[in-house]
Every structure is written in structure tokens, then in C-alpha cells.
């Protein structure tokens, strides 16, 4: 019955280690039968066989970095909850909506049981009895597959009361989002889960670990982060840290889109694989489409400052990408070849963030749309040179001070390291500015070619017109 995808999107056979995508080759990878046949729920059994603290130690030793964007180690995050405050919750952030990012969607569609098992291990380790699985509203297939898998898991006794005969009980609650990018931000997601309008809360005082869902300590983890746990528990932290580098162990999923020969999701080795490997490697994207020249790429989701070919040899390692002026973020690479209309590309991204602003912070609500309007004028060819400076001025109201950008040998630019300062609560506002800033910094000439030089109206003309009214 089982057959492999002839050309599974995002899956490329090879001898690279596979932690979270190991079942992607099976067409029935989402069923409990296939899951159990491929070592499924073995990680949970391994976890239940040891005390919760040693599971926590295992995760801490493995330094499983959060895959949602910030890259905070999951084991450390679990330890931040205050002692003896009950109940506490696990919230799974499946509201993946960063432009260019679609790795969590595949994990939920192709291997929902792996996610459920990861949730159970996390709950067991951190002593949680209730897990909320928040899936983005638009991901219909993921919702369907996760719901089916959850029913199967409940029926098979993997979820619910006294799991596998132990004293450990967990309920997993599914929740579909209503379609808002900002809900991917953890505090906005919690607001949305509580039934409120999805708007971020300010930290402090609302650090979810201390004051999260319903005011209780809450651990918010990304889907991919949790999907790593079954493998980790089966193989141990030593095997996990043997892959990748010391500061970025394991693998990570990267979604590549844009002008490459073979776009898709790839599981690459953390800290080792470079952008060049990924974009040009035969086992990955296989080069730029039509063998064109690479012009620029976004290394970590639509909100990340852009890189140019100068940065191709950087590995997937936050400690190197940050100082170089960008971030790895949610693991989404958007590739632009030399035919790309850079101002238009920046507008596409900025328009998205302006539209998705929740409307809470003034700089994001007003500034995002202002940026979009100016940029639209520039792209349509009716802008002036003053508009280009104005873009930077508006941006500096969202992000005061120097905004990070990559170095560029041709332009003689030195890198400004990540992160930026911001006047908003969350990253949506700065995200609207990031593509504008990168595009203007690295490709200003393309903008200048689009705008006209503003002509001042001669003072005499103004005087004459006033005289006309007076007479």
C-alpha cells in the first residue's frame, strides 16, 4: 500500500541526518499505522520510563533551540516558570504565517503524530496537564490531519488519562486561528486563545512563562521545536548534539522559495550547512533558476534584513548571522535573481506587514501604511527623490537608531549587527521597515532610477497666484 512520493515536494533523498522529516517519504506518513511502524511513540515510552527531571535534563543538554524565530533554547524556557504555581499550560504555536515560511505546515500535514508525541514529552517533562494546539486558520489540511491524528492518539491511549498506564495525564485542545499574522507572536496568540482580539501584550509584565494563558505560567513552543523531541528521547542528547555545532545542534527545517531551481523545505544541519550549500547544492535547491545571477536573498523570513551574494558562505548559525546584520528567524529563505525588481519586491513585503498590523502601536499602525503608500508611489514611478529620504525618516520612527544591514563590498558598506531598537511592542512594525531599509541600503540606485527629482515651485509663481485671488 505504501509508496514513496516520486518527487516529494521538499524531500530529497540522501544520506543527510533526518530528525523531523524522516517519514516524509511515505505517502501515508500522517497515519498512526505508519507512525507506529516507524518507531512512533517510542520517544514517549522512553520519556515515561524516566523521571520528568531527567527528560528535562536531556532536552537542556541537547540545547534544542526554538525554531519559531527567536532561537531560545527550549529546555531553558521550560525552566523559567515559577515554582508551585498551578495550573500551567503548554501552548503550541502553529500559527506559522511569516512570509516564505511553510515548514510547520508540512510537519503538521505530513507527520502530525510526531508533533503530538512532542507535545506529550514536553508536558511530561514540565509537569503540564493541558496543551493547547493553535493552528493557523488558513491551514485546512493541517487542521484536518492533526485533528484526525489526535483522535487516533486518544483512541490508542497516547493522549488522555493515564497515558500508557502511567499516572501521567494530558489533554490536548485544538484551536484554529482566525487569520491574523500577528497572532504568531506568542502573547497575541495567547490573547486570541482566550477569545480576545489578537493583539500583543507588553513584556513585562506579560512574560508567558510567568503570566500567560489565563494569567497562568505558560510555555509557548513552536511546532518544529516540539517535533524534535521524539527523536531526541529515542536517541539521546549525545546523538543530537553530535549533529550540527555546539551552539546550534541538530538539524533545522528551511523553506526556500523564489528564484531557485528546486524550491521546497529541506532539513539542513544546524550551524554547518551554508547558504551557498543550500541554494546551489545539488541535494538542495540546485542553483538559481535559468542559471541566473543571485541578486539578494532574505535569510530568515520576510521580516529579516536582506543578504547579498557576499553573505553566501555564512552557515545557519545565529551567532554568525546576527553580527552579519540579519537573523535566521523562522527558517525561510526567499531568493531573488538578477531580474528582480527590487523596489517592487520590497513593496510586496511591506504591504503585507502594513496590512497585518493589529493596530495597537501607533508607529506600526500609521508608519507601516505610510511606508507602503510612499513605496507604492515610488514603484509606480510618481515618487520623488525626497520620498526616499522620507522612507528612512518614517522607518526611524519605528526603529530609532541604526538599523541592521549586511556588509557590501561593492558599496563599501560595513555590517550593522542585529538586533534593532524599536518603538513598538512586537516585531510587526519593524518588519514592515526591514525590507524597505535593506532594499534602499543595498540597491538605492534602483530606487533613484524610478523617481523624479522634485522641482521647487518658484516663489514668484506662488506670489502671482495669491495676487490673482486677491484681485
Amino acid at each position: 500500500m505504501t509508496s514513496t512520493y516520486a518527487h516529494a515536494p521538499g524531500f530529497v533523498a540522501g544520506d543527510r541526518p533526518k530528525i523531523v522529516t524522516s517519514r516524509f517519504e511515505f505517502s501515508d506518513s500522517y497515519t498512526i499505522e505508519r507512525y507506529l511502524a516507524t518507531n512512533g511513540y517510542a520517544g514517549l515510552r522512553a520519556a515515561l520510563a524516566q523521571p520528568a527531571t531527567s527528560v528535562h535534563d536531556e532536552v537542556k543538554n541537547a540545547t534544542v533551540l526554538g525554531r519559531g524565530g527567536a532561537g531560545f533554547p527550549a529546555g531553558t524556557k521550560w525552566g523559567l516558570t515559577p515554582q508551585e504555581v498551578w495550573p500551567r499550560y503548554l501552548v503550541v504555536n502553529g500559527d506559522e504565517s511569516e512570509p516564505g515560511t511553510y515548514k510547520d505546515r508540512l510537519l503538521m500535514e505530513r507527520d502530525p503524530h510526531q508533533l503530538i508525541e512532542g507535545c506529550l514529552i514536553a508536558c511530561y517533562s514540565a509537569g503540564l496537564s493541558r496543551c493547547f494546539l493553535y493552528i493557523r486558520g488558513e491551514m485546512a489540511l493541517a487542521q484536518e490531519r492533526v485533528a484526525t491524528a489526535l483522535n487516533e492518539a486518544y483512541a490508542a491511549g497516547y493522549v488522555g488519562k493515564n497515558i500508557l498506564g502511567s499516572k501521567f495525564s494530558v489533554d490536548i485542545v485544538l484551536h484554529w486561528g482566525a487569520g491574523a499574522y500577528v497572532v504568531g507572536e506568542e502573547t497575541a496568540l495567547i490573547e486570541s486563545l482566550e477569545g480576545n482580539r489578537g493583539m500583543p501584550r507588553l513584556k513585562p509584565p506579560f512574560f508567558p512563562a510567568a503570566n500567560g494563558l489565563y494569567g497562568q505560567p505558560t510555555i509557548v513552543n513552536n511546532v518544529e521545536t516540539l517535533a524534535n523531541l521524539p527523536w531526541l528521547l529515542c536517541n539521546g542528547s549525545e546523538a543530537y548534539t553530535a549533529i550540527g555545532t555546539k551552539t546550534s545542534p541538530g538539524t533545522r527545517m528551511v523553506a526556500v522559495s523564489g528564484h531557485v531551481k528546486r524550491p521546497g523545505v529541506f532539513e539542513i544541519i544546524n550551524g554547518v550547512t551554508t547558504f551557498r550549500d543550500l541554494l546551489y547544492g545539488e541535494e538542495f535547491c540546485g542553483g538559481i533558476r535559468n542559471d541566473n545571477q543571485l541578486k539578494a536573498f532574505v535569510p530568515g523570513g520576510g521580516s529579516a534584513p536582506w543578504f547579498t551574494p557576499d553573505q553566501l558562505d555564512l552557515p545557519f548559525e545565529a551567532s554568525q548571522v546576527g553580527p552579519a546584520g540579519s537573523m535566521l528567524g523562522s527558517g525561510a529563505i526567499m531568493v531573488m535573481d538578477h531580474t528582480t525588481d527590487i523596489p517592487a519586491a520590497a513593496l510586496t513585503l511591506t504591504r503585507f506587514y502594513a496590512h497585518e498590523s493589529c493596530g495597537k502601536c501607533t508607529p506600526c499602525r500609521e508608519g507601516g501604511t505610510w511606508l507602503e503608500r510612499i513605496l507604492t508611489r515610488v514603484v509606480e514611478g510618481t515618487g520623488t527623490d525626497a520620498d526616499l529620504d522620507q522612507l528612512i525618516e518614517v522607518g526611524s520612527s519605528i526603529c530609532p537608531g541604526d538599523f541592521p544591514h549586511a556588509s557590501n563590498a561593492d558599496l563599501g558598506l560595513a555590517a550593522v549587527p542585529f538586533p534593532y531598537k524599536m518603538t513598538t511592542i512586537c516585531f510587526v512594525g519593524p518588519s514592515a521597515y526591514a525590507p524597505v531599509h535593506s532594499a534602499l541600503t543595498l540597491f538605492r540606485s534602483e530606487f533613484e532610477a524610478r523617481v523624479t527629482t522634485r522641482k521647487r515651485i518658484p516663489v514668484t509663481a506662488v506670489a502671482n497666484s495669491t495676487a490673482g485671488y486677491a484681485s
Binding site: 507588553l202 498590523s357 493589529c358 493596530g359 503608500r373 530609532p400 518603538t423
Partner: protein
């Protein structure tokens, strides 16, 4: 956000290191603050103003507008933080005016102004607008925004009183936060997203809140405007003075604003002990009644069966003659005074001095619709005592309807988990949602309900945990007040440490009683005496017994039986029509003095405008009348009338007749009659904006009773006691207890008081189809 100042006593004691004291530096100046305080609140005590729009000291911060950005020095250099969300810390170094901060603040202001229509010349807020002011003080001075601004339909009415202009709105979340966080009426909310975010009501649900006027006051732009003030004045033409609202007995601090000798607006003023800056809509908008055309402006005397205008000297002479003849022919017991709660303390004192001088024994400031004045002699609690008590017991009317701002304060205490409310009620009230325990009882069964609650170990344990304050008032006008007294006594006997917040609702009732306008004869015995022909002269001191006394028949007989009626009032009422002499009194804002709120707190009343026509302050009327009568009360000016609190005779329990309610026939429904905020009160019906807001007469039953009766909802039904019947429209209401019927008091339409008798312990009614 109250800051605890050290009292002089503490200063003299040894210096103790306060564990909550924090010292920080703002722009180089050392500032003392409390742990948990916000930077912006600490900065407000210095001369350095941090601009802000969304921050309001009486609401939770949201960090929405981002205008209050400041720099705080941290380990990695100065950090830009919003000062309305960042708490102070020991040794914190804050800069509010560096180049970076200025640039950020100017940037935010430019963004706020980007879509704000600059229609200041025609905007009601122009001149008192925080956006306008701060655009001048902290703005960039020039806008670079050349795009088209947002456009919405404007303005749209979001309630009967409030208009919303979404183009002016800067989305600070103040009104929406107030509605959900302070008022508990989350009827306005953000809709849409990004640049199209707007404040709106829900479809087909108006912003029908009793507190909607506060959103207009706290709006930092002209987005919310109130119907009674729209386009009436420019702020720079307004003169203002601080005063106290006397619409009910809470005593909210207000600011009276007038222009060209006309009151144009009341604003709330923040009083830490009382109203925290809030007002209810009735108190805020009934200023319109002062300007009503309907006022008494000149004295009137009855000639040939009608009241005709006359001079003060003539009217006073007639009034004095009436009183003199009554005293000389039938004795001092034949002159009675009803009312006094509309008066200032000084007015009440002057009338009490006159009554004492004449030896009168028949006077009462209440109108048989409250409780015995003994409640003022019980161990007293203040509003702050109640809102900081561990337990508050409500033996009271629906506070949201009758004492709205007290409702806000108790709601705040309950929602912030400071206080647990135990409510005894005949009908779900505004505070039921926030009550820890809400005990329903049928009228007459209060004592049994209280006794059962005291036997409940959970409730008894809660009451033992700390301070207990009883909010004590008259919940039901169709029930003997002795039941409430009995219920109170049961609690006070079991828990002798309880204190009482008496909630007699009428304006300055406590001041009038303290000044001496209550005698051993209460309103009911005065009216009974009048109905029996024993009263020669009945003086109505701003009282309208025909509208307010529950037993309508008794009042009709009393007014018919009294030989002469002298009315001292501001407005023609049902009762003043019966008067032989009318002496026009100066209204609120037309006379100064003091008023006493339900806690006994003496609060200022200010005169802002001149009195209409020839109307005079009540104290002056009393003084002149005394002169005509040759009675020396020793008053030459208002300064001779310092209100003196009568030495309190301490009581532990109230006197209560040993009554118990008869069994209810299962065909009958037990009647509950209570007040709504908007009724036929003279200040409401003479305020055009409020006059249409009352719900009208009707009878409200639990849906299950309606089903059982098979009665038609929305149609007229016959409501009868064994003696009389009235026709009322039937409504279904889940908040009405099964087996009871609720009828709002003093509403336009059929008067339920036709069925009430002062001597009935309870009233049972039968509801029948008309067809």
C-alpha cells in the same frame, strides 16, 4: 494609583526603612517612588512632563500610543521604553528629554497626526485637546504626510448621548478600556486591523452604558462628543469651579463649567475617597435641567384657585401669616415640614433652626422611601473602607441604578480581588456578576435568607477573615423596611464588628438629617396626620411627595387634608400644583455651601451662575421667613450656618418591629418595586437629553412564570391586589426571581403606587390576561 503619603505622626517617629520605597533619578533629579509604581506616575510628581495619550492613572496601562517613550539606562546602554508600562526600580536612571527621546516622541506625534483631520477650528475638543496641546509642546511642528487621510462617515451616534468621529480617533484604547475595565459594559471595541483599525459598537447594540459620558471626558481628542455639549461652547470661553454632584448621595466631585451665565457642562473631578474622577450619565448631563424654561422664577400665591406671580414680600407675608395662624390656632404640631435632601447643609440648618425656634415637631427629610435615620448612628464605614474590606454585604437597592459611582467603586474592588461581595437581593443587580455569593430572596424572606447564609460555614468563614462592611439601604418600596432592619440586626448580632455604609439615596439626605431636619415623627406619620386633618400648614422643602412617597393614596389624602401647603422648590411638580404659596429656590450651581455625602463626608458646593429670576437660596428664604415671623434664628449670612453634626448616639442594632411576612398564595406573585437610573425625577425629565431614556412603566416577570401564566409578552395585563388593579405592559426578564414581579418605580405611564399601602408588609399581586 494612590500614593500613600506619610502622615505627620509617622514623620516624627524614628526613620524606618520602608521596604516599598524606591529611589530613582529622572533627568538628574532624585525622585522617591513606591515599588510597582510606573515611571510616568513618578515623573508626574516632578516638573518633567512626559507626553501621553493612552495612559490614564485610573486604568490599567496598555502601552498603545507609544507617546511616553523615555530612555532608561541599562547594562547595554540607554534603552527606549514606554514609561506607562515600565515600573520604577531602585537606582534607575531615566531620561525624558534627550535628543533620542525627543526624536522618538516627535516621530510618534507625527504619526498620530498623520491621519488626524486638522479640523480643530470646528472641533469641540479644540482648546482643551491633549493631542493639540502635546502637538505644540512635544510635536515636530510640521507634517511631512502628503497622502490622503483616512475617511469614515462622521460622526456616528453610538448611543443616545455620545457621538463617535472615527477620523479624529487616535486609537488610544481609553474609551474601550473604560467601558470594559471600569464600567463593565464592554459595548465598544476595536474592529478591523492595521490602518483601518477603528472603535465601533457591535451590530445593533448601542453603547448603552450608564457611564458613557466618562469616555467623552477621557477621550484625548474630539473623537467622542456628548450630545448635550456638542457645538455649545469653546473651551476658552468656559469658566469653571469645583463642586459636588448632588444627584444622589455618593457625592462625586465635579467641575461646573459655564459660559455667559449658563451652565454648559459638568466634568468629573478626581477625588481619591469618592468618585475617582468618574460620573454617571445622569449626574453628568442633568445640568440641562438648570437651564430649563420650566423653572419657578418668581414667587406665586394662590388667588381664585390659581397660582399667580407675586412679589417676594407678598409671598413671604402670606407664608408667614399661614404659619403664624396655624401655630396660634392648632399649636406647633400643626405645622409640618417634608423634605430637605435637595438643600445644601447650610440651607437645611437654617430651616432646622427655624423649625426649632417655632417648636415644630413634625418634620422629616425622607419621604417614607428610605430607612430609619438610626442607620447613621450605627458603626460607620466610608466608601474606601468598603472597597478595601475583605467582605462587603449588600443589603441594598441595585447600586448601579441608584448610586452608580458607588457601583463602580465596589465593582473595582471585586474585580481586582480585594473584596468579596455577598449580595442579598430580590432581583439580579448590576453587582450580581461580580458578587462572590448572590443570595436571592422573596420579599419578606430577607431575615430567613440572612440567617441561612450565616449558618453557611463557607460564608461565615469568609466573614471571619477580615473587615466586613454592610451596604445598607432600602431595596424594595413594596416591602416594609423593618425586614431590612431585621436582616441587618441578625448580621450585626452574629458579627458585632461589622460597620455600615448607609445608602439612603437622595442627594443631601445625610446633611439634612444631621442639620436637624428629622424629628421623631417620620414622613408617614406626618402624612397620616395631614390626611386626618391635623396639619394646618404643610411646608414642602423641595419635596414632591406625590411622585416619591410609595403610598400614593396616603399622599393624596394628606395633601387634601392639609389646610395650607407652602412649596419651596425649583420646579413645578405634581405636589407644587397643590401649593397655596410657592417660594422659588435657587437651583444647583446657583448657590454655594456644602453637602454631606452618604459617608458623612462634608463636600463643597459652589455657585457658578446667578439664580434664575428672583429665586433665592433656601437658607435665605428660611431667614427671611424667620424675620417675618419674628423668630430670631441668629442668621445674617451663610457663614452663620456651619452644619453641626448632631452628637451621634451610638447604636449597635436598629429598632425593628417583630413582623414576619405572610405565606404567598401560589397564584400570586410577590411585588418588587425599585428605581432605575432614569425615571420621572424632575432633574431627569427637565433635561432633554435624558428625558427619553427611561424604560417606562411595565411589569417584569421571570420567563418561567410567564410561561405558567400563559400571559402575552409585550401586551397589557391586569395587575391586581385584593383591593385594586392597574394595567401594565408585560415583559420577560431573566433577572427577576421566579415567584416575584418587578415594577420600576416612578416611570412614565401607569403608576404602580396605586397598589401600594404604607402599612402592608409585602404586596402580592395577581397577573391576568386582559382578553
Amino acid at each position: 494609583m494612590s500614593t500613600t503619603e506619610s502622615t505627620p505622626d509617622q514623620v516624627e517617629t524614628e526613620v524606618v526603612v520602608d521596604p516599598n520605597a524606591v529611589s530613582l533619578t529622572i533627568n538628574g533629579k532624585t525622585v522617591a517612588a513606591r515599588k510597582g509604581e510606573l515611571i510616568i506616575a513618578a515623573a508626574d510628581r516632578t516638573s518633567d512632563f512626559i507626553p501621553r495619550f493612552c495612559y490614564h492613572p485610573r486604568m490599567k496601562p496598555v502601552g498603545m500610543c507609544r507617546q511616553c517613550l523615555v530612555e532608561v539606562e541599562g547594562p547595554r546602554g540607554p534603552m527606549m521604553v514606554v514609561s506607562c508600562m515600565t515600573p520604577v526600580a531602585e537606582g534607575q536612571v531615566v531620561h525624558t528629554a534627550t535628543e533620542q527621546v525627543k526624536k522618538a516622541q516627535e516621530g510618534i506625534l507625527e504619526l498620530l497626526l498623520a491621519n488626524h483631520p486638522l479640523d480643530c477650528p470646528v472641533c469641540d475638543k479644540g482648546g482643551e485637546c491633549p493631542l493639540q496641546d502635546q502637538a505644540f509642546s512635544h510635536g515636530p511642528g510640521e507634517s511631512r504626510y502628503v497622502e490622503e487621510k483616512r475617511h469614515y462617515e462622521k460622526p456616528i451616534p453610538i448611543s443616545d448621548l455620545v457621538f463617535l468621529d472615527r477620523e479624529r480617533c487616535i486609537l488610544c484604547d481609553r474609551c474601550t478600556r473604560f467601558a470594559s475595565e471600569v464600567a463593565g459594559d464592554p459595548l465598544i471595541s476595536f474592529t478591523h486591523r492595521g490602518n483601518n483599525t477603528q472603535v465601533l459598537t457591535f451590530p445593533d447594540e448601542p453603547f448603552a452604558s450608564y457611564f458613557s459620558g466618562n469616555t467623552v471626558q477621557i477621550c484625548p481628542v474630539g473623537a467622542l462628543t456628548a450630545k448635550p455639549y456638542r457645538f455649545k461652547a469653546r473651551p476658552w470661553d468656559l469658566e469653571e469651579t469645583q463642586s459636588t454632584c448632588t444627584s444622589c448621595s455618593v457625592g462625586c466631585a465635579t467641575v461646573i463649567q459655564s459660559s455667559r451665565d449658563q451652565v454648559l457642562r459638568f466634568q468629573g473631578h478626581d477625588n481619591d475617597e469618592v468618585n475617582w474622577g468618574w460620573l454617571c450619565d445622569r449626574g453628568r448631563f442633568n445640568f440641562e435641567s438648570i437651564n430649563s424654561e420650566n423653572r419657578f422664577t418668581t414667587p406665586l400665591v394662590r388667588e381664585n384657585a390659581s397660582l399667580v406671580p407675586t412679589s417676594w414680600s407678598k409671598a413671604l407675608e402670606v407664608a408667614a401669616r399661614t404659619i403664624r395662624m396655624a401655630v396660634s390656632s392648632k399649636g406647633a404640631n400643626s405645622v409640618a415640614i417634608l423634605g430637605g435632601a435637595r438643600l445644601a447643609n447650610e440651607d437645611a440648618r437654617a430651616w432646622a433652626l427655624l423649625a426649632n425656634n417655632l417648636g415644630l415637631t413634625m418634620h422629616d427629610a425622607q419621604l417614607d422611601d428610605g430607612l430609619s435615620t438610626e442607620v447613621f448612628h450605627l458603626p460607620q464605614a466610608t466608601i474606601n473602607d468598603a472597597t478595601s474590606a475583605t467582605t462587603v454585604i449588600l443589603l441594598s437597592p441595585d447600586l448601579k441604578e441608584e448610586l452608580p459611582v458607588l457601583y463602580l467603586r465596589l465593582r473595582d474592588a471585586a474585580t481586582k480581588n480585594r473584596t468579596r461581595i455577598i449580595e442579598f437581593t430580590t432581583k439580579a443587580s448590576g453587582l450580581t456578576r461580580y458578587a462572590w455569593k448572590s443570595v436571592n430572596y422573596e420579599p419578606g424572606a430577607q431575615v430567613a435568607a440572612v440567617a441561612a447564609a450565616l449558618n453557611d460555614s463557607e460564608i461565615a468563614n469568609q466573614m471571619r477573615k477580615g473587615n466586613v462592611v454592610i451596604v445598607l439601604g432600602r431595596a424594595n418600596l413594596a416591602e416594609s423596611s423593618d425586614f431590612t432592619a431585621q436582616a441587618y440586626n441578625a448580621i450585626a448580632t452574629a458579627f458585632p464588628a461589622v460597620t455600615v455604609l448607609p445608602v439612603l439615596r437622595r442627594g443631601n439626605i445625610r446633611g439634612a438629617v444631621a442639620a436637624g431636619l428629622a424629628s421623631e415623627n417620620n414622613a408617614r406619620s406626618i402624612l397620616t396626620a395631614a390626611s386626618e386633618g391635623h396639619i394646618e400648614c404643610l411646608i414642602l422643602l423641595g419635596a414632591d411627595p406625590l411622585s416619591d412617597v410609595p403610598d400614593l393614596d396616603l399622599v393624596r389624602r394628606a395633601l387634601a387634608g392639609a389646610q395650607n401647603v407652602i412649596a419651596v422648590d425649583t420646579f413645578p411638580t405634581a405636589s407644587t400644583l397643590r401649593a397655596d404659596v410657592v417660594l422659588p429656590a435657587a437651583a444647583y450651581a446657583e448657590r454655594g455651601g456644602t453637602t454631606t455625602n452618604l459617608e458623612g463626608r462634608i463636600l463643597p458646593l459652589s455657585q457658578k451662575i446667578t439664580a434664575r429670576g428672583t429665586s433665592r437660596p433656601d437658607w435665605m428664604i428660611a431667614t427671611e421667613l424667620a424675620e417675618q415671623l419674628g423668630a430670631d434664628i441668629g442668621v445674617e449670612s451663610i457663614n452663620d450656618l456651619t452644619a453641626i453634626e448632631v452628637p451621634a448616639q451610638a447604636l449597635q442594632v436598629l429598632s425593628a418591629a417583630g413582623i414576619s411576612a405572610p405565606e404567598r398564595n401560589s397564584y400570586d406573585l410577590r411585588l418588587v418595586v425599585s428605581r432605575k437610573m432614569y425615571d420621572n425625577a424632575v432633574s431627569t425629565v427637565t433635561s432633554p437629553s435624558l428625558a427619553q431614556l427611561s424604560i417606562g412603566a411595565g411589569i417584569y416577570l421571570n420567563p418561567r412564570d410567564i410561561e405558567r401564566l400563559g400571559a402575552p409578552v409585550g401586551k397589557d395585563v391586569k395587575v391586581s391586589t385584593s383591593l385594586k388593579s392597574v394595567i401594565l405592559t408585560l415583559h420577560a426578564d431573566e433577572s427577576v426571581l421566579k415567584g416575584t414581579a418587578w415594577v420600576p418605580f416612578n416611570q412614565p405611564g401607569t403608576d404602580i403606587r396605586e397598589l401600594l399601602n404604607a402599612n402592608d408588609l409585602i404586596v402580592d399581586v395577581r397577573v391576568e390576561n386582559l382578553s
